[in-house]
């Protein structure tokens, strides 16, 4: 029997608002057989990636295998139909992988993969037709030898190639006293069309998620780092200012940065409050955080990194299981903010699972689907939507695998098979999905902002590579429309240039710089 805390303050605020539509998901076999395997060195990590490797425009899936081989799965789903994937021999059948992030490093129009490992990290150059080859030597990339557990990328101004940030965990060779042994994170800056030797981001505090994000809308993303307090000493959450041509600088209390110490495991970002600035969902153990800029943090258009945690007020703490009888505190990993029910309001999805068999934390710990209501309060709906898996989750992706406009779901589990769910009825309306394109470097416009105006609401999405828990989506950026049948969209390109507002209707669109938006039809070659 579930017990309720007898506190008036905990009455669900959303009970007084109109409940958001609940999407209906169906679990599907889909043909993917992949387990995140391994013992102690694989208690963290376990990512998934969704990106098009085959050139058909449909998101394929990479799943980390831990101590086993990782695998790439080609999307063979029928448009609007059941999910179906087939394993492809890709060159990614590599062991010791914690996760991989897709991006086009060499700007050749073919997606590459940054593969994070327990051991040497590897940049895998995309060759097309879902084939990849090692490119460390060709690209001058020093893969190091660490326990890599986080990744992010951006294009610094004036650079053809991206700057890569890699988060590292503890010294895996420490046995009796591993605490305090966090190893340095690395910043791999480009040197022409290869990478320079990595800069250590000292101090480092066992990052499990990092994200380049333009938190203050300065036009230059900073590196947000979420750290696992289990292992650091002197540590806290971090933000590095990364200005072109300058050494990274850690933000301090003098900047307004306040100390926060959590079991940081995942970062998801979105402008949830509509103030034009990204907000951050930080996963942890027990309570999770939803950070927004504090009142007064923005003065004369200049923001200070002073955040308030509104997770409690917004019903987004997701601190314990909401199904079953296991009421112990939760363990949250991957998070992603997307409009899962297409009602025009972004929702929060959280993948959960015990670290291993820690008795103080829930063993049957369902993943969360926190649907945002019109009042900004989130309502737990994972069970009603049919996605309340209690397997030991780690990473995952929300992506429209069958190209029907509704975001489907894939979860990587520790020691158990990947799970996939098809979103058969989002419930809230239709969606617009966009892919960005610009000439030259940073072809996919990482660091851009996409703004979508539908009715009186404007939704803003920062285009990033990184964050989550070792999981990333690349290619299509999804916006739900709610009751609207059309919308206006514009791109603020990474260099700050504001594109024109363009009218778009439900479906898939290519937003190419200095060109009119062009519709794309699934089933035809990728745009």
């Amino acid at each position: 029997m579930r017990l309720l805390l007898a506190l008036p303050a905990l009455l669900p605020l959303a009970a007084f608002a109109e409940a958001p539509p609940v999407p209906r998901f169906v679990a599907e076999d889909a043909g993917v057989t992949s387990v995140f395997a391994g013992d102690w060195q694989y208690m963290v990590g376990g990512g998934a990636s969704a990106f098009d490797c085959s050139g058909d425009g449909m998101p394929d899936v990479f799943t980390a295998g831990g101590e086993g081989k990782s695998s790439l799965w080609r999307n063979e789903s029928a448009i609007g139909g059941a999910l179906k994937f087939a394993k492809v021999e890709s060159g990614l059948e590599i062991d010791a992988i914690t996760g991989a992030y897709p991006l086009d490093i060499d700007n050749d129009g073919i997606t590459d993969l940054a593969v994070m490992r327990v051991g040497e990290n590897i940049l895998m150059r995309g060759l097309g037709e879902c084939r990849f080859e090692r490119a460390n030597e060709a690209w001058g990339f020093d893969g190091g030898d660490a326990w890599s557990t986080a990744f992010a990328a951006m294009w610094e101004k004036g650079q053809d190639w991206p700057t890569l940030a890699i988060g590292n965990y503890i010294d895996r060779k420490e046995e009796a006293f591993p605490w305090g042994s966090c190893t340095d994170n690395w910043l791999h800056r480009p040197d022409g069309q290869k990478f320079a030797a990595p800069l250590p981001l000292t101090p480092s505090f066992c990052a499990l998620s990092i994200l380049f994000t333009d938190w203050n809308r300065s036009g230059t993303p900073s590196l947000r780092v979420s750290n696992d307090r289990e292992y650091y000493k002197k540590g806290q959450e971090q933000m590095w200012e990364v200005l072109p041509g300058q050494p990274p600088r850690l933000l301090t209390p003098a900047d307004g940065w306040a100390r926060l110490r959590i079991w940081g495991m995942g970062i998801a970002s979105h402008d949830l409050t509509g103030d034009g600035y990204p907000d951050y969902y930080l996963t942890s153990m027990a309570d999770n955080k939803l950070q927004v800029l504090k009142d007064g943090a923005i003065k004369d258009g200049v923001a200070k990194p002073v955040y308030a945690d509104i997770a409690f007020a917004k019903g987004a703490t997701a601190h314990r299981p909401y199904t079953g009888d296991d009421l112990r505190p939760s363990t949250a990993w991957h998070a992603q903010i997307e409009d899962v029910n297409n009602d025009g309001l972004p929702d929060i999805w959280v993948v959960k699972g015990n670290v291993d068999r820690m008795p103080d934390f829930a063993q049957a710990d369902p993943n969360n689907l926190l649907l945002q209501g019109a009042d900004g309060v989130f309502v737990e709906s994972g069970d009603k939507a049919g996605v309340a898996s209690t397997k030991i989750g780690r990473g995952g992706v929300l992506a429209d695998f069958n190209m029907d406009g509704a975001l489907d779901m894939a979860v990587v589990n520790r020691r158990e098979n990947v799970e996939l769910w098809r979103n058969v009825a989002p419930g809230g309306g239709e969606a617009i999905q966009m892919t960005l394109r610009q000439a030259g470097a940073n072809r996919n416009a990482i660091g851009a902002w996409v703004e979508l105006r539908a009715g009186e609401r404007t939704d803003r999405k920062e285009i990033t590579v990184g964050g989550g828990h070792m999981s990333g989506v690349f290619g299509w950026w999804h916006f739900g429309l709610g009751a609207a049948s059309e919308a206006e969209v514009r791109v603020i390109w990474p260099d700050g240039t504001e594109g024109a507002w363009q009218k778009v209707t439900p479906g898939f669109w290519l937003l190419e710089r200095d060109k009119d938006a062009s519709a794309w039809t699934p089933g035809t070659p990728a745009p």
């Binding site: 506190l7 009796a176 006293f177 314990r320 009421l327 008795p359």
Partner: protein, 438 residues
């Protein structure tokens, strides 16, 4: 320089020169066995989610007591069993003559750690296994297998007996990280209100801890304390003045006061906790002194039991009075923008837990080392704090208490009266007869 090394884990070039060389038949000195297990325990306290300060104090008590009794049972020991002295502690298993003290210590401590930290995460489990193997290997290098087995078996059997006894003390089961699933807030004026935006902490921590069976005290209410200042919102009232004192002090903190607040902050899951702070001090002092294992066990047993009793007494009082925290009062009546330097703990204010247990620790350590014993506290060196020197234990305890004012989480009466309550608690422990008559 870091003061605490793993004795067996250091290469010869890193061996601490101040440490006395110990001849040992077992390949590792009993003192090193104890020191290293305690160092691991202090890490596990930090890294095990249920280990809030009261829970940590209980573990320190049983670990110390188990080691003490295991060693005291040896016929050749100078220690006197505490059975019949510690409240309801039954007689523990006898030992045959000649057991190796290092093996005995390893048997008792290893099992104690495995049981008390069974809930720790996979890294803690891995560390425990590594420590167990390394010490066992060292022991085996110098002891015949039967002697090693006999010593370990005795240590384990004593711990098993004490662990059985511990199950009935009221603190053996901690669920939901210590926060009750159901709780009704007090309705009297000045009742505690949640101070955190963390959902688990909307109910207060371990409200029944003050009903636990104490070790040295007769009952949880044996260490009486003055009533808190009557609650009032009248600006002319004593309560308002005490709140204003917190407000004014925290708004004009010196750098030194900020350091003091943070040095003694000892947050659970980010430090060895307040009782672990004092255990760390004792472990370091015993190492510096080159104390033999029986003296170490004596100090750790008394210190562990007294901080455990202090938390029982303090929690008994906290939930008897159920008083509001400064942050609640000040934000409502003085300055809604005020924020304390430290995170306000999620339970009632009066008295201060850190003060109570520091007062108790002061009395026991003064009893063991001397009232005027000057020492240096290195507890938080690895967190970047400089070591802090103290002329005596009372000065350290007083500073620990004052840190709660500087941190903005306690009113002065909770500190002053908490220290006094702790000193009463400590006196119960120092009455125990730990040595056989000469």
């Amino acid at each position: 320089m870091q003061r605490r090394g793993v004795l067996f884990g250091l290469g010869a070039t890193l061996a601490l020169p101040a440490l006395p060389a110990r001849a040992t038949a077992s390949g590792i000195a009993a003192e090193a066995v104890m020191h290293d297990w305690y160092r691991l325990i202090l890490e596990l306290v930090r890294h095990t989610a249920t280990y809030t300060p009261p829970v940590a104090s209980r573990a320190f008590a049983y670990v110390g007591l188990s080691l003490f009794e295991a060693l005291a049972a040896r016929p050749e020991s100078a220690l006197r069993s505490l059975a019949g002295q510690v409240k309801s502690l039954p007689a523990t298993p006898a030992a045959a003559p000649g057991l190796d003290p290092a093996a005995v210590a390893h048997g008792a401590l290893c099992r104690a750690v495995e049981v008390f930290f069974v809930n720790t995460g996979p890294t803690g489990q891995r560390a425990m296994a590594a420590m167990k193997k390394r010490i066992a290997d060292k022991l085996a290098s110098g002891l015949p297998a039967p002697a090693l087995a006999a010593g370990i078996a005795h240590g384990e059997s004593v711990f098993a007996a004490i662990n059985d006894w511990s199950q009935s003390d009221g603190g053996a089961v901690v669920e939901n990280m210590g926060f009750p699933m159901e709780w009704t807030l007090g309705t009297h004026p000045g009742a505690w209100k949640p101070t955190s935006l963390i959902r688990l902490q909307q109910a207060p921590l371990l409200p029944n801890w003050g009903k636990n069976r104490p070790f040295c005290m007769d009952s949880p209410s044996s260490a009486t304390i003055a009533d808190p200042t009557p609650y009032s919102e009248d600006p002319a009232s004593q309560f308002f003045r005490e709140a204003k004192e917190v407000y004014d002090t925290t708004r004009a903190l010196t750098d030194e006061q900020k350091i003091i607040a943070r040095f003694w902050s000892d947050d659970p899951m980010l430090s060895p906790t307040p009782p672990g702070h004092w255990i760390t001090i004792a472990n370091d002092l015993l190492e510096e002194e080159g104390a033999d294992v029986e003296r170490r066990a004596e100090v750790m047993a008394l210190l562990g039991m007294t901080v455990a009793d202090a938390f029982i007494a303090c929690w008994h009082s906290k939930y008897e009075f159920d008083t509001v925290r400064p942050v609640t009062y000040i934000k409502a009546l003085i300055d809604k923008t005020w924020e304390p330097l430290l995170i306000t703990p999620p339970f009632p204010e009066y008295p201060s837990g850190h003060s109570t247990q520091s007062g108790a620790a002061e009395v026991v350590l003064a009893h063991c080392f001397g009232a005027d014993f000057a020492f240096v506290d290195y507890t938080h060196e690895d967190e970047g704090f400089e070591a802090r020197p103290y002329p005596n234990f009372r000065a350290a305890a007083d500073e620990a208490g004052m840190s709660r004012l500087y941190g903005g989480i306690h009113f002065m009466p909770g500190i002053v009266n908490g220290l006094d309550q702790g000193r009463v608690v400590g006196a119960f422990a120092t009455k125990l007869q730990t040595r056989k008559a000469a």
